[in-house]
Symmetry: C2
Subunit: 118 residues, 2 copies
């Protein structure tokens, strides 16, 4: 099966709650995850919510990474969307899981752009 | 089933190829889609690729929308991730499908953050 993009959906439960509410930590971690994957960063946008929670997106040449956190539940949703064969999104996933102290995770891989013309 | 977030994955085939390579059009369309859903925009990041293709993310209070386009195939991958009951992501999806002149689409809904504690 030949797809234009590979999309990893990470369900990250039982994470370190303090880390999930730390914008600075999450930004540096997501940027480092992009680097782990071998991706080239084009831009980022992070936002802290009140009373808690962070949303962050890193746009890469090869697509994007994002994270949305719910510190009150120790939960984060993260996506790693890449295209091309020069990047290794699985490395970014492993890195995120470790850095967030996640003790209960699942990763779903969804191919994107399966075209008849390919 | 009670989930923290609703994630719509749109596979958009047979779209208008010119629209898929028009950063300005795509930015205004994604921002308008967020508005259609009743979402509050926090930030955006769009990038034009050479020789073609655009990646764009709109971060909203309720999570995010993104689009990645492959004009050469008339294809775009778009995601609409929302949380809370105040927004209607399906309206954003319908809006995108129409504005891109998409003649062949599929929408997959994935619940995010199904927690035991909810």
């Amino acid at each position: 099966m030949n797809a234009l993009g590979k999309h990893l959906l990470l369900e990250l439960k039982d994470c370190n709650k303090e880390s999930l509410n730390d914008l600075s930590f999450l930004k540096s971690t997501l940027l480092a995850a992009a680097s782990e994957a071998g991706a080239t960063v084009l831009g980022e946008s992070f936002h802290q919510f009140n009373p808690q929670g962070v949303s962050g997106v890193v746009v890469i040449t090869e697509s994007h990474l994002f994270i949305h956190t719910w510190p009150e539940y120790g939960y984060a949703a993260a996506d790693i969307f890449t295209c091309g064969n020069s990047v290794q999104p699985e490395k970014a996933a492993e890195f995120l899981i470790e850095k967030l102290g996640c003790k209960n995770h699942s990763v779903q891989e969804i191919p994107r752009g399966i075209l008849d013309t390919q």
